[in-house]
């Protein structure tokens, strides 16, 4: 399976703390994307990192990618209660084509307490 798997499954922190979520995958990739999903809602794209990139920032988000370990991490700094959601990584599986199919992990449920 090419699917990403997030770790931990659940994370509970206080507002202001940093949250780190990890993702591992099994095959080579072109890129890896992180998504957020509020309970019962749609998938919101957070950030995309390409296989030739090691780190990327977007606001309070920092994503790293280690292709040698087939892993990525998502760091949310200075978390807020509104960050409470499930976070998923999705890989494209580097199929050598432009098909764009994504493989999702099971997600990390982040709870930020006020």
């Amino acid at each position: 399976s090419q699917q990403g798997e997030e770790d931990p499954q659940a994370l509970s922190i206080q507002e202001g703390e940093n949250a780190t979520m990890n993702c591992s995958y099994k095959t080579s990739i072109n890129n890896l994307q992180w998504y957020r999903q509020n309970s019962g809602r749609g998938l919101v794209h957070l950030i995309l990192i390409r296989s030739n990139e090691r780190e990327k920032h977007s606001g309070r988000l920092r994503v790293t990618l280690d292709t040698s370990k087939k892993s990525s991490s998502l760091l949310i700094t200075a978390s807020r209660a509104a960050d409470t959601a499930s976070y998923f990584c999705a890989t494209d599986g580097n199929r050598g084509s432009t098909l764009g199919r994504l493989y999702f992990g099971r997600g990390t449920q982040l709870t930020v307490w006020p």
Partner: protein, 113 residues
């Protein structure tokens, strides 16, 4: 920011009935997808569509499923005879000329009773 839209937001249907889920992908995108998420489970790929034909489908996408792009803007998923296990959130998605960032719609929650 551009958006993928989906209708309806919630569909309730009886087992054995046909349903059509509708999506309007982002206007300049060329790759279209359907995914589903059964409650509490991971998001699963169903099908990708490019150049007016299916480019890939998963084992979930059996003969009961079909997709269509009836005009220049809509993209539909039809389930011919729904089963209880088809109850899920269905997400439409689209991506650019070269699949890159994938934009997801808000989803249609399908409940089969």
């Amino acid at each position: 920011e551009p958006e993928v839209t989906q209708t309806p937001s919630h569909q309730v249907t009886q087992m054995g009935q046909e349903v059509i889920l509708r999506c309007v992908p982002i206007s300049n995108h060329l790759y279209f997808y359907w995914y589903r998420q059964i409650l509490g489970q991971k998001v699963e790929f169903l099908v990708s569509f490019y150049n007016n034909e299916i480019s890939e489908k998963s084992e979930i996408f059996d003969d009961q499923f079909s997709v269509e792009r009836p005009d220049g803007s809509n993209f539909t998923l039809k389930i011919r005879s729904t089963k209880l296990e088809d109850s899920a959130m269905y997400f439409c998605a689209s991506s650019d000329v070269f699949p890159d960032r994938t934009y997801f719609g808000p989803g249609t929650r399908l409940t089969v009773t």
